[in-house]
């Protein structure tokens, strides 16, 4: 099976298990410590089986972004280290904390646990894509967080804000309990949950008034 085949297989049916199998299938060192930051043309990146980067075009924050991507590269690493979109954070790199949450076709996803090749042809939105690039206007959720003074250390903030953005689209009239469930894939170690819920409720309120 060639690299492209395995990637396309992944694209047709994504799950955490297929994600892991995909990483293994392309021959990466699948240990807890391994990361991939291969740049094209760097000797060594080629020495590992199947780790040649391919030029693909991603749709990120309403822009077409041509980018060289390894077959086993996660979306989080592509965003952070190739597209310099460092607003997406890596807190655990293993789907435990949600700091890396982005929207893929409007759905909140852990970008640490998606292969970049899986999002070809799909719309990726990161924290950098929420503010209106022409007017500088904040998104509804960002505005709500600003008004409520949300977050402390804020390392989790981009992930929470992306999940809130998906939430108000899905359920613009949540109770605090429902909002907590919608945001339960994100961890805040400062435990600022009470204020985060207040931000989410304000975001929903602003969304309803638009």
């Amino acid at each position: 099976m060639g690299d492209m085949d395995s990637v396309e297989l992944l694209e047709t049916k994504f799950s955490r298990r297929t994600f892991i199998k995909g990483v293994i299938a392309v021959g990466a060192t699948a240990t807890a410590t391994s990361q991939f930051l291969g740049r094209p043309g760097i000797a060594g990146a080629q020495t590992m089986a199947g780790s040649a980067a391919r030029l693909i075009t991603l749709r990120v924050n309403d822009q077409d972004r041509p980018v060289d991507v390894l077959p086993n590269e996660t979306l989080a690493m592509t965003l952070r280290y190739r597209l310099n979109l460092t607003g997406t954070k890596l807190g655990c790199d293993r789907a435990e904390c949600g700091a890396c949450t982005v929207l893929v076709d409007g759905v909140n996803q852990y970008s640490c646990s998606m292969l970049t090749h899986q999002v070809r042809g799909r719309a990726v939105t990161t924290i950098e894509g929420l503010q209106n690039p022409d007017t500088g206007e904040l998104s509804t959720v960002q505005q709500a967080v600003l008004e409520e003074g949300g977050f402390q250390c804020a390392f989790c903030a981009p992930g929470f804000i992306m999940s809130m953005t998906a939430m108000i689209d899905d359920n613009p009239n949540p109770t605090r309990e429902e909002a907590a469930h919608a945001l339960s894939g994100n961890l805040c170690r400062c435990c600022d949950y009470d204020k985060i819920l207040t931000c989410a409720m304000r975001a929903a309120e602003l969304a309803r008034s638009v």
Binding site: Q35, A45, E96, V145, F155, T175, Y193
Partner: protein, 796 residues
């Protein structure tokens, strides 16, 4: 002057950056030609590296070099180095590889041929204290006066321990006050308990990733750290270099909670490696690595004897703590003893402790170090006494909590202010303690309710640091130079508010300068021990008073009249001779020179403030001063936490239904941020009480709970969707601003509110152990034998 800034909700100026993704944490910086480092970590709890063959790793295309223990400073004794050839815990960094990509570096680590000699290890301090028990270090289990020794308890001591009694064993720390045995003889009730508080990781959201590079002999270090100015000096010490040759960039910190106070040991790795191979080095720390090197709160194994009079007054405490010091030491026990004496005011107390090295990951202060543990351990015992004496549990706290005349600890320390009872009263009212009595033990289906209270003090201030600020001729704004770190508490902005008020400025006329040491940082406290709000509202107050005097003098010298006749408001000075804008004042200050623009500095500012102030001289009107306000006594804040829980007696799962936290922390600067500290800190305490712990395999000395899902910090569904908080709001009389810190005390309050509420749901039965995991609770409810010994540490 109108109090328009103190006590209002103002979003911190960095919030827009935080919510748009523009805020740069240390791993978000890039340098040209940046290479990546990966570490090889010890697979054993104690070992010696016998042989390393890195030839295959170094031959891998793209590999740039190796950093070994011999490349970094090593010190004798239990003193952590960046890399070591004798690891004292599983996960300790042995060596590092740098490569063009992180993938290559990781692959090269796998190609290292390394041979370890396994050495004896111990993970439970009590095991190390047994006769003939193993030591964590080859030299012993105790290090003092720069030498190793061994402390072993006797077989008789362990016979007492095995019988469930406090041993009369040799202690390293010991103090007493009053007449303890006479007091116990006079007690109407004596409770004798064995209590275990387990160790738990800090796990900040941002792992301690760092990046560094050198240019023309200068080190540019991008560091994840709670503090800033002090971290620069810590880094200089580690590299043995002139601090002024370091540009420390620490704009944001993704949480520390005590684990990144002056940065961390590993922060020097990119600096050393970059110097060796002459390339910028990014070292990304993974979550699993963070679990090992990212610090943990030390656990306690303890014996507690508390005596009470029939009135409910605690009249005697005898407390013995065994502290797990990990690989590099820990001193939480001292504060634990102080906090016990402060909270229950027995007047007669004996405190003994040993802190024993173990081959477990390094321990460090974790939010409320010592205090949070002891409060979560002792509050259920106070409740037990209340039940036996027939006294309401709130009343027990009102009877025992200190008043303003308190004197506590071995040196009879005083406090600047204490309003613990006001916090209890406010909390009882907001929670409806009286009305909720009927919930206690009430069963609906399989769920039994319990209510609890935790009263928790902690240090909340320090004195004598410097403030530095500049009014710029270009914009007329006040630029407050902060040497404190931006660790998420908003103190980076909030401590500047008194300065703005003194100078009559609106908040949009203030710029906070922070996060880059080259921009000028005054001598600051570390951002730990909840010092910052108190210490730096004072320091900024002092510097603003200096600026105010200079503004008046510059105006008088320019326009005529008496200096003190000039008033300032909204960036304009008005007086007998007319008016000037702050921009004009700043330009005139530069013309006048001397002290006005910082060319002459006060004699009493700290030597490390001088280079920062000198670098800003001539750029505007400078306010610079040391906090000379003085004061006597310890500065402590308090939180009273009230919780209602439901314990499912079929599953052992505890659900938190309601929580109220009330603080005494002096004047409230920023209400919304304060509420976040009170509730966030309380929830951290709830995690400590309910879910978070280390679990070790005792045979091999390696941990099982390594990641967030196994160490389980609280998630958003673990807490009620509505929580309440409040503040007593009485100013501390010894500060010109009146504010005290708040970071630490809520942790013990949240933890103890749960340990007491769970005990209440179990009919007053104290499990005397944290965390209160469902299996431990169920075993107790079902009368089964526990799966572990009473004093065992590191169990699930």
């Amino acid at each position: 002057m109108a109090e328009k800034l103190i006590g209002t909700d103002i979003a911190p100026p960095d919030l827009i950056a935080k919510i748009t993704g523009r805020a740069k944490y240390s791993e978000d910086f890039r340098a040209d030609n940046m290479a990546f480092a990966k570490i090889l970590a010890s697979p054993m709890p104690h070992a010696r590296v016998r042989r390393v063959d890195a030839s295959r790793a170094l031959a891998l295309p793209g590999v740039l070099g190796i950093l070994r223990a011999e490349d970094v400073p090593q010190r004798d004794g239990p003193r952590e180095a960046v890399l070591t050839d004798e690891p004292h815990y599983e996960g300790e960094p042995i060596l590092a590889i740098a490569a063009e990509t992180e993938q290559i570096a990781a692959a090269a680590i796998e190609l290292i041929d390394i041979d370890f000699e396994p050495l004896p290890f111990v993970i439970d301090p009590l095991e190390s204290l047994r006769p003939g028990g193993p030591n964590a270090y080859s030299g012993g289990n105790l290090f003092s006066d720069d030498a190793w020794s061994e402390i072993k308890w006797t077989a008789e001591d362990f016979a007492e321990i095995d019988a469930g009694r406090m041993p009369n064993a040799e202690a390293v720390v010991e103090w007493s006050k009053g007449d303890v045995s006479a007091a116990f003889a006079a007690s109407d009730l004596i409770l004798d308990e064995v209590i275990v508080h387990q160790s738990l990781s800090h796990h900040p959201m941002e792992p301690r990733s760092n990046m560094a590079y050198w240019e023309n002999g200068k080190l540019f270090a991008h560091v994840s750290t709670q503090s800033a100015q002090r971290t620069k000096y810590a880094m200089a010490g580690m590299l043995d270099m002139d601090p002024e040759d370091i540009v420390l960039v620490a704009e944001y910190c993704g949480g520390g909670f005590g684990s990144k106070i002056s940065g961390s040991t590993i922060m020097a790795l990119p600096a050393f490696f970059s110097r060796k191979i002459n390339r910028p080095i990014m070292h990304r720390v993974t979550r699993a690595e963070e679990n090992y090197i990212g610090r943990a709160r030390p656990g306690f194994q303890s014996w507690l004897k508390m005596g009470f009079l029939s009135s409910g007054k605690c009249n005697a405490i005898d407390l013995y703590l065994v502290e797990e010091a990990g690989a590099y030491g820990s001193g939480d026990n001292g504060t634990a003893g102080m906090v016990a004496d402060l909270t229950y005011t027995p007047q007669n107390m004996r405190f003994r402790a040993v802190s024993i090295y173990t081959n477990t990951p390094p321990k460090a202060a974790q939010r409320g170090p010592g205090g949070a543990q002891i409060i979560s351990m002792m509050e259920p015992i106070l409740d037990k006494a209340g039940r036996e004496l027939g006294i309401d549990r709130l009343e027990m706290r009102m009877i025992n909590a200190p008043d303003a005349d308190v004197s506590f600890g071995p040196r009879d320390s005083q406090l600047t202010s204490v309003h613990a009872k006001e916090a209890l009263r406010m909390g009882a009212e907001m929670f409806d303690w009286a009305g909720k009595q009927s919930l206690s033990g009430q069963r609906v289906g399989s769920k039994v309710s319990g209510i609890g209270i935790g009263l928790s003090p902690y240090t909340a201030g320090s004195r004598g640091f410097d403030g530095l600020m500049l009014i710029s001729p270009e914009d007329g704004k006040l630029h407050v130079h902060q040497g404190i770190g931006n660790l998420g508490t908003h103190s980076i902005a909030d401590t500047a508010r008194p300065a703005a008020e003194i100078l009559g400025l609106n908040w949009d006329q203030v710029e906070i300068v922070w996060g880059n040491s080259s921009r000028g940082m005054p001598r600051s406290s570390v951002q730990a021990g909840s010092q910052t709000t108190h210490a730096h509202t004072r320091a900024n107050h002092a510097a603003a008073m200096d600026a105010r005097r200079k503004i008046q003098e510059v105006a008088a010298r320019t326009l005529g009249g008496a200096a003190n006749a000039y008033r300032m408001d909204n960036g304009v000075v008005t007086g007998p001779g007319g008016r000037m804008t702050f921009a004009q004042i700043a330009a005139r200050a530069i013309e006048l020179g001397g002290e006005y623009d910082g060319h002459t500095l006060p004699d009493d500012i700290h030597e490390t403030t001088v280079p920062a102030a000198t670098g800003l001289a001539g750029k505007g009107l400078m306010g610079v001063a040391k906090d000379n306000y003085g004061g006597e006594g310890g500065i402590y804040s308090w939180v009273a936490g009230f919780a209602h829980v439901e314990l499912d007696v079929e599953t052992g799962v505890v659900e938190i239904k309601e929580y109220v936290g009330i603080t005494d922390c002096g004047t409230v600067i920023h209400p919304r941020s304060l509420g976040a500290q009170v509730l966030g800190g309380s929830i951290q305490g709830m995690g400590m009480a309910m879910t978070q712990r280390w679990v070790f395999d005792p045979q091999y000395g390696v941990p099982f709970a390594k990641r967030l899902y196994t160490a389980r910090p609280p998630g958003i569904l673990d807490v009620p969707p509505n929580m309440s908080w409040g503040a007593v709001g009485i100013a501390d009389p010894q500060s010109p601003v009146g504010a005290k810190g708040i970071g630490e005390p809520p942790v013990g309050a949240g933890a103890a509110a749960l340990t007491t509420a769970v005990a209440d749901a179990m009919g007053g039965k104290c499990l005397c152990r944290t965390p209160l995991t469902p299996d431990i609770i169920l075993a107790e409810l079902e009368g089964r034998t526990r799966a572990h010994g009473r004093l065992d540490m590191h169990v699930g």
